[in-house]
Amino acid sequence: MGGANLSFSIPNSLEEVTPACCRIETFLNEHDAHPRVVYCTQLVFEELATNIIRHAFSDDQRHEISIGVMLDNDSVRMTVEDDGDAFDPDSWQPDSPGSLEEAELGGRGLLLVRRMSDDFSINRESDRNVCRVKITVPAENKEQ
């Protein structure tokens, strides 16, 4: 399995998220990525894209979200960029409910991004949010 790249963009519409996820899945499967990497990359993209579309834009205009996926050996590096409002992921902390009664219905997306990726950062660069994520195959999964 060698290096391979995928770049594309989608408008800020929730209807575009699942087709984009499937495009990433097809690309990774065509290049024999590990099943866990395929799953986690889709999951991380779904959570990032839906968060951007729901929360990043304070107008009703069309915006483009740029996606880059780089597959190299056992790892994926993905970038997701938008021109929405600045976002500090450290400003948000999920609850850790002890019971169903305490559990909030939402707010698990960024927690999943953090826990199902190896590196995760969001930086403000030239009035754009640039999210970078790395996803690798855990050692215990490499024989699959």
């Binding site: 409910p97 019971s99 939402g106």
Partner: protein, 114 residues
């Protein structure tokens, strides 16, 4: 995303989800899922074996149903989730709140209706 009713003759609602439980999948199936799991005044088993992808919106749908069932003293149990779907539940910190079973017998035991 599809929902099917496995049985209507058991002391618990028994349904099966199939496909991608993501934002689009939840939009497609949530109304039907809510009716099938909350409309019978009894606990529910949700066969997850054919759910090949689950995002936070899918988790939200499951938690919403589990919370409403718990309010009536009932439970929701997930049956046979795919390995990575199982990992997703664990990483969402909700694994201990919605029981997971790996056979119908185990699910019945967890529900306490056997």
């Amino acid at each position: 995303m599809e929902l099917s009713i496995i049985s209507e003759d058991k002391p618990y609602s028994y349904v099966k989800l199939s496909g991608r439980l993501d934002t689009a999948g939840v939009d497609t199936v949530e109304t039907q899922f809510t009716a099938a799991t909350l409309g019978n005044a009894k606990s529910a088993v949700v066969d997850m074996s054919e759910v090949d992808f689950m995002a936070s919106m899918g988790i939200r749908m499951l938690v919403a149903a589990a919370k409403r069932l718990a309010g009536d003293g009932d439970k929701l149990v997930l049956l046979n989730p795919h390995e990575f779907v199982d990992e997703t539940m664990k990483n969402a910190d909700l694994y201990m709140l919605i029981p997971v079973a790996y056979s119908e017998e185990e699910a019945v035991t967890l529900l306490g209706v056997g």
